[in-house]
């Protein structure tokens, strides 16, 4: 737990030392890291590879954005609606998709996410389809604080990140978290120890979906945009990539994965137009030389105390 606090202290300190652009970048990184943590809970801990998590991110985002835009909700209830929407979607998806496992689970989640994406486009009258819509500055203040300023945004992102980060860290140390790991390691064995694997997986999916939904709602709140591109396959593959890069099944891995990927693209695109080439080569090299992701490999090779 002290290590987790240390991570948060570093993030707090970064605000005072980083130049303006990177403060903005880290606001975004922390929001995406929430998404990655949500994903990690299901993939890294429970061992379920979903290819459709963008639907939960989108549910949070649209749950927040649509209630603000259509019904004039204020931030708190809209944000809550976003989380509930994501959790409810996860409940339904889990009820159906968890009948499958392995590749079938990947495909079912992929197709459900595709269905959600098409639904967003179909109701273009309200969602403005692929274009999406803006959540106006005036609608983005909470308890009198205008969340559109750089400082407010950073601290809002940090607080939400901290809550999710500590909650996830706590969760995976609780018996519940250990049982999820047991399912990842050997589901049949877990069941034959008397654990209700189906129920545990459903709970894991709901929590994972809800955390992803928090990320989506936070994105809408802090960056003022809600759009269908966040529900495409690409945004389902991103968290998988981040988690694998950082280290699946580690609490700090998702954050590291997001930072790594963000700055890999950010920095290489400053030098060349062919930055995707560099990113591609980096991914290949990384998986060759850091098989467990950055944190996972470091933990195994040198620093067993990494969270």
């Amino acid at each position: 737990m002290t290590l987790h606090i240390a991570v948060l202290v570093v993030l707090l300190g970064l605000f005072f030392v980083l130049p303006a652009y990177h403060v903005g970048a880290f606001s975004r990184i922390m929001v995406l890291a929430i998404y990655a943590m949500g994903y990690n809970l299901l993939f890294g801990y429970t061992g379920l590879l979903s290819l459709g998590h963008a639907m939960f991110f989108a549910a949070g985002m649209y749950g927040f954005g649509l209630t603000v835009n259509l019904f004039g909700f204020s931030v708190a209830p809209a944000f809550l609606t976003g989380i509930i929407a994501a959790a409810a979607l996860a409940l339904i998806v889990g009820y159906l998709a968890l009948r499958t496992a392995g590749v079938a689970f990947m495909i079912v989640t992929l197709m459900f996410a595709q269905t959600v994406y098409l639904v967003i486009l179909y109701f273009g009258e309200y969602t403005r389809g692929d274009e999406g819509f803006v959540v106006q500055q005036a609608q983005r203040s909470f308890a009198g604080i205008d969340l559109t300023g750089e400082t407010e945004r950073y601290f809002a992102a940090l607080i939400l990140f901290a809550i999710c980060f500590l909650a996830v860290a706590k969760l995976v140390q609780m018996p519940f978290g250990k049982r999820l790991v047991a399912i990842r390691e050997n589901e049949e064995r877990a069941r034959m120890l008397g654990y209700d694997a189906a129920k545990l997986k459903l709970h894991a999916l709901i929590i994972s979906g809800a955390v992803s939904g928090i990320a989506g709602a936070t994105y809408g709140l802090l960056f003022g945009y809600v759009g269908a591109s966040f529900s495409t396959v690409q945004y389902s593959i991103f968290p998988l990539l981040w988690v694998l890069l950082g280290g699946a099944g580690t609490t700090i891995g998702p954050l590291i994965g997001v930072i790594f990927m963000f700055y890999l693209i950010d920095i290489s695109s400053g030098y060349t137009d062919a930055y995707l080439l560099i990113a591609g080569v980096a991914l290949v090299l990384l998986t060759l030389f850091a098989p467990l992701g950055l944190v996972g490999t470091l933990r195994k090779r040198a620093f067993p105390w990494l969270p």
Binding site: T100, M106, I107, M111, V119, I237, A282, L283, L286, T287
Partner: protein, 301 residues
């Protein structure tokens, strides 16, 4: 009528794309995210070959049909040796590695070939009209309305898909290569013990899978255009088809391709196209929910 004919064309294209993935996934059990990029490479190289050679479209097309799959197959086999072999085909690391490959192939294509969608001329493309019968004011009559037609090339694609399928089926079930592949698929450790060079088989399979994707692309590119981002959708659809059909089941793959190719065409008779697509996507997913092993897959014992 036209909807089903078009559905057949779409299914044929799907089958061609999915077969390669079916083999790779079936034998090696790795998710190759870059599979769609081999498809794209096939289409792009088909454009390169036909434009470099010039001359009559048939000449260029036939040349592309032979050269391109081999070329793409070699690239893929090389990538397998260079990268996948070294990550021991670990499922997680393969995903990262193939995402990396996807970026590399896409960007390399963007830098050399460019962002445009470029057409390849079909070797033949006659428009075939179909008659329609109806009772009009003057009784029963035969008319030639607009729309009721298909091109000869599209029919050719359907037959080509069937031909490739039969050839593949023969190779897999009647030859030693097929036997080795099936043995590796069943149990790679045992196969190794019986003297099957599993490492080499994997490279061949990976190359063959990519080559098949490229072959499909060469056949498809006169209908669609070669574009550096064209690999994404075929990848997803092929993946879906393979899983819905049932892993390692060639007939299952064909049925799934028909199901997906036809379903939204038929549903769109009743609903608006996007709603039809929503329903079709959802229903196809439900097939898997209630039959997780796929249509013709065997339930795990």
């Amino acid at each position: 009528m036209l909807a089903s004919l078009e559905g057949a064309v779409i299914s044929a294209i799907l089958v061609l794309t999915a077969m390669g993935l079916s083999i790779v996934f079936g034998v090696m059990r790795v998710v190759n995210v870059a599979h769609g990029e081999f498809f794209m490479l096939g289409a792009v190289l088909a454009w390169v070959v036909t434009t470099t050679l010039g001359g009559h479209p048939v000449f260029g097309f036939v040349a592309a049909l032979i050269v391109v799959p081999v070329l793409v197959g070699c690239i893929a086999a090389g990538a397998d040796r260079l990268i996948l072999k070294r990550v021991n085909y670990d499922p997680d690391r393969t995903i990262v590695a193939t995402i990396g490959m996807l970026y590399i192939i896409q960007q390399a294509t963007l830098m050399t070939y460019g962002p445009e969608a470029r057409p390849v001329e079909a070797p033949f493309n006659t428009r075939l009209s179909l008659p329609w019968f109806e009772f009009g004011d003057e009784g029963f009559q035969m008319i030639w309305p607009w729309g009721l037609s298909i091109t000869s090339y599209k029919l050719f694609v359907i037959f080509a898909a069937i031909a490739v399928l039969i050839a593949l089926w023969i190779v897999l079930t009647r030859t030693k290569i097929g036997l080795i592949m099936r043995a590796t698929q069943q149990d790679s450790d045992t196969a190794q013990a019986f003297g099957v060079p599993v490492g080499k088989v994997y490279s061949w399979v990976f190359g063959l899978g990519a080559g098949l994707a490229a072959l499909g692309a060469v056949l498809v590119v006169p209908i669609q255009q070669a574009h550096y981002l064209m690999g994404g959708d075929p990848l997803l659809l092929a993946f879906i088809v393979v899983i819905i059909g049932g892993l390692g089941s060639l007939p299952g793959t064909v049925i799934a391709a028909l199901l997906i190719g036809m379903s939204d065409g038929i549903i769109s008779v009743f609903f608006s196209p996007t709603l039809a697509k929503i329903i079709a996507t959802f229903l196809v997913a439900m097939v898997l929910v209630f039959r997780p092993q796929g249509l013709l897959g065997r339930a795990p014992s």
